[in-house]
């Protein structure tokens, strides 16, 4: 088999693979319907963050790419992305893929995602190709991100995924439950949970901690084989490589992670030699830039279906490597998209592909009755708490973006006010839904931003030097020019503190001009009272952050954001990963 013989048919080059190509013909029964292509259909969703019901999710206006990642997806925002894929502003696809005209478009096109609507779409996509010709893959970050997922320790999502018919998944935030809970949930899961890059530490193996394979140390099955449409498909799992760094190690002390691309190469070769697959797919939670680099270093993979960085990327990036070509995708977040990769497979090789990133528009897809009944059942015991009104949004509230979103600013302002601190810090998570202006902020929407297993707050003295060090470290995790040194989150959110940032600079020289909101310069040798939450070391002593935010919201009643503590940015003018940003410096 010569892998260079691949015929890469761009079946989708004409449309961006989104809905518009299909909808233009007008009023078919199913606007998601498409002409048949190939013989194996892979359905992929990722980073749904436990959003069982339809939500709003604003894509970022700041998602800066540095070095080789500049100027290409996923680092194209707003109009830059629309120009890249040739889609007009103002339509459904532009609403799904960008922040442009977000509040107005959200009113017009409605909510996205929701498992009952996703179920309808998935069932139709599977029915279209017939039984046994498709697989449903979940890229992880499925058991965390909502109130009910936290309160059921991820079990509501395991059962929902069983109803959805997920065949294979990998993980990241799944590992923020305790190890024994992770294993119990996997036991409960009808599909397979796979990861080649999670191992039991050697110390723990000594102590008799169990592993999927005691010889290799794999905690989970590393790959799974599937007969699809008469072809053998190998799926290799790649969990988030930096889980014990980005999240608390204390929940999973016996497991060690890492990118392990050498091991991935060995695994691909092992699978190709012993299983004789017709296609090798990696189900990855690396993040898109890491996947692009891994695809250049590991050969023999037909496609990496990726997640983690929450990038709704309409078409795969085709990466060349020593063995041929590998497709790299990223399928967005919060249940907003279902990716459909149709493969035309011959004996032992992939001959062509078609990729579509389908937005899950809740008002175009009727809710599946069975799934809706299940979701209603999950929510019923918690409904009073979930629907508790706290305040009204006086402005669009969102999180996603490299720097403070408006909802983060509310969290930071709440932390400062409730703890009487001068400065506050909040992690740069990429999950968290959006609230439209005029809508009620319920407890459920606050939990969308905060529901996790280490929500405790702190209030303590930190020196100016310590604060600068934190900002530099997190900026390096975001903007390091080599993606293998990034962690895939956004910049730490700040309250009360302002700074300038040069994303293109090196570690320890990106951050400057640190000043407090009252204009004082931050003094490296002086101590400041800082409030925050979500510490990854030991557990903080304060109340969970959602209590702090709820108290603040109830007190304010109408929430406006007067000032965003976003930095002045240097050396990125002309970068297509930023738009509608007022603080640009030359």
């Amino acid at each position: 088999m010569n892998r260079r013989d691949f015929v890469w048919m761009l079946g989708c080059a004409s449309s961006a693979g989104l809905l518009s190509g299909c909808v233009r013909g007008e009023l078919r029964d199913d606007p998601y319907e498409s002409a048949s292509f190939g013989n194996v259909r892979l359905l992929h969703f990722t980073d749904c963050h436990a959003q069982l019901t339809p939500i709003y999710f604003r894509e970022p206006n700041v998602n800066i790419g540095i070095g080789g990642a500049a100027g290409r997806p996923p680092h194209l925002v707003g109009q830059h992305l629309l120009d890249h894929i040739g889609t007009a502003r103002g339509g459904r696809d532009a609403y799904a893929l960008t922040y442009l005209d977000f509040a107005a478009a959200a009113e017009k096109f409605g909510k996205v995602g929701g498992f009952a609507h996703l179920k309808t779409l998935i069932d139709r996509q599977r029915a279209e190709v017939g039984d046994g010709n498709s697989l449903l893959l979940d890229g992880g970050d499925t058991w965390q991100g909502s109130a009910t997922s936290l309160w059921t320790r991820g079990k509501d999502m395991v059962d929902a995924c069983n109803l959805l018919g997920v065949d294979v998944m990998t993980g990241h935030w799944e590992f923020t439950y305790r190890a024994e809970e992770v294993l119990q949930n996997i036991e409960r899961f009808n599909g397979e949970f796979i990861a080649q890059n999670v191992r039991v530490t050697e110390d723990a193996l000594f102590d008799g901690v169990s592993a999927y394979d005691e010889d290799s140390g794999h905690v989970f099955k590393p790959y799974s084989m599937h007969e699809v449409g008469g072809h053998r498909i190998a799926i290799i799992g790649q969990a988030f490589p930096y889980t014990p760094i980005a999240n608390p190690r204390r929940f999973i002390p016996d497991w060690t992670f890492g990118i392990r691309d050498d091991d991935m190469q060995e695994m691909v070769e092992h699978v190709r030699d012993t299983e004789k697959p017709d296609a090798v797919i990696v189900l990855s939670h690396n993040g898109m830039d890491v996947d692009v680099k891994m695809a250049s270093r590991v050969s023999g993979v037909d496609a990496i279906l990726g997640g983690h960085t929450h990038d709704g990327v309409p078409q795969p990036i085709v990466v060349e490597n020593s063995g041929g070509k590998t497709l790299v995708t990223n399928a967005g977040s919060n249940g907003k998209f279902l990716a459909v990769l149709d493969l035309d497979i011959g004996k032992g090789k992939v001959k062509g592909y078609r990729y579509r990133l389908l937005p899950v528009f809740a008002n175009l897809l009727p809710a599946d009755a069975g799934m809706q009944a299940y979701i209603d059942g999950v929510r019923k015991p918690y409904l009073d708490k979930l629907e508790e009104p706290l305040a009204v949004a006086g402005t669009l509230l969102y999180r996603r973006g490299n720097f403070n979103g408006t909802f983060d600013q509310v969290i930071c302002d709440a932390l400062m006010e409730v703890a009487d601190a001068e400065i506050s810090l909040s992690p740069g998570f990429r999950w968290g839904t959006s609230v439209l202006p005029g809508d009620t902020i319920t407890m459920e929407r606050v939990m969308d931003q905060t529901a996790m297993t280490y929500p405790e707050t702190y209030s303590r003295e930190m020196s100016g030097a310590e604060l600068k060090m934190i900002l530099e470290s997190v900026a390096d995790n975001l903007f390091h020019k080599d993606p293998y040194y990034q962690q895939g989150g956004d910049m730490v959110r700040l309250g009360g503190l302002n700074f300038s940032c040069d994303p293109t600079a090196k570690m320890d020289s990106r951050i400057s001009d640190l000043t407090l909101d009252d204009g004082r310069t931050l003094d490296a040798g002086k101590n400041y009272k800082v409030a925050g939450w979500a510490t990854v070391g030991s557990e903080s002593p304060g109340p969970p952050v959602w209590e702090v935010v709820a108290e603040y919201l109830k007190d304010k009643k109408i929430i406006t954001v007067n000032k965003l503590n976003t930095p002045k940015l240097r050396n990125i003018s002309g970068n297509a990963g930023i738009a509608d940003y007022s603080n640009l410096l030359e």
Binding site: F206, E214, A246, R249, G258, D262, H308, M469
Partner: protein, 146 residues
Amino acid sequence: MHRRLLLKGIVALGAMAAWPRLLWASRPDAAFIADNAEDAIMAVFGQMPVASEQIKLKIPDIAENGAVVPVTVSTDLADVESISIVVVNNPTPFVASFDMGPRMVPIVSVRIKMGQSSQVLALVKAGGTLYSTSRDVKVTIGGCGG
């Protein structure tokens, strides 16, 4: 079960092999006291290394825990006399050195301590010449994963 027994066996062997050297090999104290990498390397080897692609240094790009960073060095260079590890930014950069006999397979695996992000060097002395390869390892505050 296999693996545990096997690992215990390896540790025992490792201890037997390493023990006499720690006690009796000519230990160049200057190397382990020197506070910069170049002094340490010169103190032990009397020469600076030349870069080699025949050394494989396996170490995480970002350490999960700076107190125990797993590192494995192997090489297909011939006539290997020693394998050493240097963490440039550590207070005492010279971390470990293993003398290799002619019949030993040149692979060492240890866990090292790193106080901060640093370049890590793997040094192999072979046929009288010192060779090296290096990797950058980040020791970072965590907490902001997507």
